[in-house]
């Protein structure tokens, strides 16, 4: 039978994959991919808890807003990346470590 643990396990794997991507990659866009994975893990957790608990839909609302915020975040984040690329011609994360142009 598929229970809460299955979903938690999948979300766990997603989260770990996200962390792995965020640490292992040096490409800023790839980092944003990792962020998306992590956010999805969180959203999945909310939906799973909703299903396996009292069943009011607050968890779904949370997931919905996580998705919305993730979309806004990736829009702004990628905008920053593109601007950064125009300035520095690089999307290497370590090139973004200085405070000045």
């Amino acid at each position: 039978m598929i229970n809460l643990w299955a979903y938690l396990g999948i979300s766990f794997i997603l989260f770990i994959c996200g962390i792995m991507v965020m640490i292992a990659r040096k490409n800023i866009i790839a980092l944003l991919l990792g962020v998306e994975l992590i956010l999805n893990a969180a959203a999945l957790n909310f939906a799973a808890y909703t299903k396996f608990s009292n069943g009011n839909l607050d968890g779904h609302i949370m997931s919905l807003f996580i998705i919305i915020i993730a979309a806004a975040e990736s829009a702004v984040g990628l905008g920053i990346v593109i601007r950064f690329f125009q300035l520095r011609e690089s999307i290497h994360i370590d090139d973004a470590s200085t405070l000045q142009n």
Binding site: I23, L31, F52, S53, D58, G59, S97
Partner: protein, 721 residues
């Protein structure tokens, strides 16, 4: 009065809606935005006044309103995860609400005059509205979580307002500094909230009190073999938040720089309300501080701050800088009050200080607006030009110096009296009391120094003096000052002379502070478990008439003998305070007024003084002129004679031989041990540290993530829950 959402919520919502509307309105119709902000806060004031009068007249001690609603509920089965928000009003909240709204209203009114010529006139009011609503929200909050939300919101407003004149080089840096420095305290505050959450299950004040009463905080947190009581950790974390916000000793550095903001915002945020919010938080969490046994620590922090800031204030020449350091010092007194268990007096000092310090800042603002200059050496003699401002400032200086019949005397001297009491019981508190009284002396001195330099004497810069605007009475220029200055009189806060009841001037009827504000005693904390929480939408249905009226108890629940002892000590403290206050004023008077009467004496006795005056530079040059030239130089000559006549001839030549021996040995030692070992070693170790520290601050995001994860891991994995 029935307390429903409609009678309480407008206090917060009026300024907030004003903020929201003004965001759009500010650029288009600045005048409307300003009017809207001011009217909104005035509306809040009316609501707050209703609540205050209600609590003052109708309700009894311990009466409170607590309304909650569920923010969100993610409970899974038996595992509760429910976050409540709500409002909590008791006597303290009601008083605080009245103070904040009243001071904010007057400052808003003043700002319409002060900021009128500014190009970002309306934007200032946008921030002020947001700030006021956040502050009021903080005061009304019933739990630490929403306190934290409003806390951070206020931090943001403070940041924006300090950097209001962002064209100035320093303003941006100062705002950054303020934001970053307070962040140190806030992180600890958040950790404290999390600890409390883990232990209590929510962060509502009442539940925290009940949990302390039930002994839930008695556990010991063990990590790496070191055991610390959880209550201590939580209390320290919460107090760190206070230290950040209220600019206490180690992280006080931001407040003087915060004076880059416009003066009305300094008056509201950095003197009257936001910095006091830190103290308010500590007062709210007083049972936790007590349970954590960190009161001594708090008292010491307060004492160091109070005295240290006062010494710094002595040599400031910028009028706002003096006030800034004086604010830090006075906040230190409030913290001393918490530390010595003087709950009531500490809160009273919070209120009285808010009033007179706001008035002082507004007066300073009036001066600055009049002469477009902040340096006191360039002022002088402004009394004739600015008579109303002078009057207001004089009253406030009396208040802060602790002259009898003024509010500062009543509140500060109760703190000092309690400090004295504690010092007599416990030797550990002797330095606290000493620093407190010393600080009081310095306070009286530097405040009157400021007053004398600004308003008395001859105009030192005639250009500035002649171009100063003549002051006329105006509803938004000096009426707010005068209103505030009236409330520096002690009788509004206490009917008694020292506030301890033994010299009762106006009858106990006016002792509302003593009557209404009560320390949550450790032995009564269990009662909070029975406090009922109402649903947010309901109207209050309890019968007010049947509630017991609050009565003034001059003995504070103590036995007759103990009360007598307490009164006796307080009386000593009061007399000492009066003496100290007048001593400080006299010192200032003799330094800055006597000089005018007898300039020759002044010039001959202190030969460096005139030069210092010409340089418009006071105490540094004074000390150099007096101590070094008069004292050290003759002594130096004497030593020189001794040196060449006796020492050189006999001792030096005689020891030269020995020295040469020693020289050889020490050269070897120097080359081989010191140079190559210690000096190079220091360099190498610094370089090593450099490598480590540089890695931490590399700007590499991924490293930050790793550090975050590791720190989180060490926090979570060592925690037992």
């Amino acid at each position: 009065m029935d307390y429903t959402i409609t009678t309480v919520a407008p206090i917060v919502l009026l300024p907030f809606f004003a903020f929201v509307i003004n965001v759009f309105l500010a650029k288009r119709v600045p005048i409307a935005a300003v009017a809207l902000s001011t009217l909104a806060i005035f509306g809040s004031f009316i609501y707050a006044l209703r609540i205050f009068l209600d609590f003052q007249n109708v309700y009894a001690v311990g009466y409170h309103i607590h309304k909650v609603f569920t923010w969100f509920d993610l409970s899974a089965g038996e595992h509760l995860f429910k976050v409540n928000m709500g409002i909590y009003i008791d006597n303290m909240t009601a008083t605080m609400l009245l103070m904040v709204t009243a001071v904010a209203t007057l400052i808003h009114v003043f700002s319409t005059w002060y900021m009128h010529d500014d190009e970002r006139f309306a934007r200032f009011f946008v921030y002020m509205s947001l700030f006021t609503s956040a502050m009021l929200g903080l005061v009304l909050s019933d739990n630490l979580l929403s306190v934290f939300i409003f806390w951070e919101l206020m931090g943001f407003c403070s940041y924006s307002l300090i950097g209001f004149y962002y064209e100035k080089e320093g303003a941006g840096n100062a705002s950054m500094k303020a934001f970053m420095t307070t962040r140190v305290g806030d992180v600890f505050f958040l950790m404290g909230i999390l600890i409390i959450w883990i232990i209590v299950g929510n962060t509502t004040f009442v539940d925290i009190y009940a949990a302390i009463g039930a002994g839930k905080f008695g556990g010991v947190f063990t990590s790496f073999g070191i055991g610390l009581p959880i209550a201590t950790i939580a209390a320290l974390c919460i107090f760190a938040g206070t230290m950040g916000k209220s600019a206490q000793f180690p992280i006080h550095v931001w407040l003087p720089d915060a004076m880059f903001g416009p003066t009305p915002c300094s008056a509201l945020i950095h003197a009257a309300t936001m910095v006091a919010a830190g103290v308010y938080l500590s007062l709210r969490m007083y049972p936790l501080m007590e349970a954590g046994h960190i009161l001594t620590f708090i008292a010491y922090i307060g004492a160091i701050t109070a005295f240290g800031a006062a010494t710094i204030a002595l040599i400031q020449t910028d009028i706002k800088a003096v006030l800034a350091y004086s604010t830090i010092s006075q906040l230190g007194y409030m913290v001393i009050g918490i530390g010595v268990g003087s709950y009531n007096a500490s809160f009273m000092h919070l209120i009285t200080h808010a009033v007179f310090k706001a008035c002082l800042f507004l007066s300073a603002g009036s001066v600055i607006h009049s002469i477009h200059c902040q340096e006191m050496p360039q002022m002088g003699g402004l009394r004739k030009k600015l008579p109303y401002t002078f009057f207001a400032m004089l009253l406030c200086c009396f208040a802060i110096a602790g002259v009898p019949f003024f509010s500062g005397f009543v509140s500060k001297d109760r703190i000092l009296g309690d400090a004295l009491l504690m010092a007599m019981e416990n030797k550990a508190f002797i330095p606290v009391a000493l620093l407190g009284f010393g600080g009081a002396l310095l306070t009286a001195f530097y405040m009157f120094r400021m007053l004398f330099l600004t308003f008395f004497g001859e105009p030192r810069d005639h250009h500035i003096y002649d171009h100063a605007h003549e002051e006329h009475i105006g509803w938004n220029s000096n009426i707010p000052l005068l209103i505030l200055s009236v409330f520096t009189l002690g009788l509004f806060y206490s009917g008694s002379f020292t506030g301890q009841g033994e010299v009762n001037l106006f009858g106990s009827k006016y002792e509302w502070f003593q009557t209404l504000i009560h320390k949550p005693e450790a032995s009564h904390l269990e009662h909070f478990a029975h406090y009922e929480k109402e649903d947010f939408g309901t109207t209050d249905t309890r019968d007010k008439v049947e509630l017991p009226k609050a009565a003034y108890d001059a003995n504070h629940g103590l036995s007759e003998e103990a009360a007598h002892h307490v009164h006796f000590v307080h009386k000593i403290g009061a007399i000492l305070s009066i003496f100290i206050a007048f001593a400080g004023i006299f010192l200032a008077y003799s330094m800055y007024i006597t000089k005018k009467l007898d300039p020759n004496w002044w010039a001959t006795t202190f030969s460096g003084w005139r030069k210092a005056l010409q340089n418009k530079y006071y105490f540094d040059d004074l000390y150099i002129g007096k101590i070094i030239q008069k004292g050290l130089l003759p002594f130096n000559n004497l030593l020189a004679k001794f040196d060449s006549g006796i020492y050189d001839r006999y001792v030096v030549d005689g020891t030269a031989v020995l020295n040469r021996w020693a020289y050889n040995i020490s050269r070897w030692f120097d080359n081989n041990v010191v140079d190559s070992g210690m000096v190079d070693g220091t360099g190498a170790s610094v370089r090593l540290m450099n490598v480590v520290l540089r890695t931490i601050q590399s700007g590499k995001v991924q490293l930050y993530i790793i550090v975050l994860v590791v720190v989180l891991a060490s926090y979570v994995l060592t925690l037992r829950f």
